[in-house]
Amino acid sequence: MRHITKANEEMKIKKENVLFIMIFSAPFALLFLFFILFPIFEEIYYAFVIKLVGLPPRFTGLSNFKSLLRNPLYVRSLLNTLFFVSIVVNTRMLLALALAVLLNQEFKGRKYVRALMILPWALPIVPALLTWRWMFNPDYGLINELLLKTGLIKSKVNWFGTYSTAFAIAILFPIWKFAPFWASIFLARLQAIPRDLYEAAIVDGARPLQTFRYITLPHIKDLYVLNTLLSTIWTMGDFITIYLLTGGGPAGTTHVLATIGYMFAFQLGNLGVASAAFVFVLPIIIPLIMLIMWMLERAG
């Protein structure tokens, strides 16, 4: 008798748990379904059809991809993305690590310095981008004014008027904006390294570079690799930096993947080609995501 009630009780708990799991998973599951999964299928489907805004889709095979690869602006945007991501991610991660090591030193006023260092990250991104545009404004910008005053340039530079300077500014911006974010993550890990390790090393006469090489580095190696991969995939999707800083200009030469896809869809109204522009890089994105997942699961 008692056994039966106990079994019943357990059944009841199990049933209740199933209901509970279903109800509690539903909100995210629905968001995922409608705004992540269906869009992915839709995008892959659209990549293979002719779809103009307002017209029904028509199957077209690979012609969207063919027209993309014949489009010098698209090919250029792919190369730009590659260039942008590799320089931004690596420079930023090194800078972030350096910042974290610096902030991990003991000195007076460290708390305030940390707060100041966080500022670029805390500033909302649109005001940050507009400030950069203003600083590099050819006529009234601070940078030209300072360079003229110090005699480093003879006449005003039109920073957004040539590819190299415009793209260089677009690369510098995300390094500046998000280095504090990655530095914070490194710093949290650095502070978890036991202090006595460093003290013991110093007593044994280790130099700063040696303590970094033999104590700090082994502790952050895995995190550094993981952060680099995370940063890579997020930087690949950067839209707003190019959109608001250079607008893809001059003459469309500074477009990256996210901005050119947006342009195909919302300025030219060609949804098929825009989808294909993104689907084309899925063979790179998906393995990268799987690699990061595998690393996260291994770390957990």
Binding site: V18, F24, E42, L116, I118, L142, R189, L271
Partner: protein
Amino acid sequence: MVLKALKAEKVCIYLAVILVTSLMSFPVFWMFLNAFKSEETIFKPLDFSSLTFKFIITALTDRMFLIQLRNSIIISLGTVILTLISSLTLGYVLARLRFKGKTLISRLAIFTYLIPASFLVVPIFVLAIKYGVYNSFLAVIFVDSAFASPYCILVTREYVRSVPVEIEEAAQIDGASRFIIFFKILLPLIAPLIAAISMFAFIYSWNEYLYVIALLSTEEQFTAPVGIAGLLGSDIIPWGKLFAMSTIFSLPVMIFYLFVEKYVVTGLTLGAVKR
């Protein structure tokens, strides 16, 4: 000798700190400074002779800016609510219950966390029309919540795991259902987490740009950052007003940020970038 070397090292550290800090924080101060210039000095970068509130007043009396500021607040609060609902629930389930498909669900969450949001803008635009939410705040709230949730789910899972399970077990033996346990026992215990998630979702949405311009179409619906950046399209760009608006838009969240930054970073190292 050793002391001298140590002292030299200290000086080097200080110099490096001062140099790096001022360089990095400079543009932020530059933005604020430009909001307090005047029509006479705004086009002279190094002239700070007359600092005024004129641009701030112009910004605060700009009807469209106030509407867009209100839109920003509505969309951000909506995202906070929806993200809390979707992440606290699933985060709890992932932390406490064992069931088939659990690994799959956490992988889907991580997948969403990683995929660049901008790569899905075309199909989300098309589907928003099909769903009938195009041109409404709801569309942006849904998308922002979908992309902000995964991180919050992972953080919730880690946080709940660190809460002792004994209290919940005791309640279960007393016959309390999972629902009661979640609402009556767990939620009061995780207030700091709720605050951290709310802030993350709020700032995520406060910064949203792409999905606002893709899913909304009129100036009256745009959020403040889209409106402010839209001033770049004017014949004569009103830079002073633009930075006054930027200041009003940025300052509250930045102050908030500096206070709770610790939570966010702790959360990040806990959930997303696990030890």
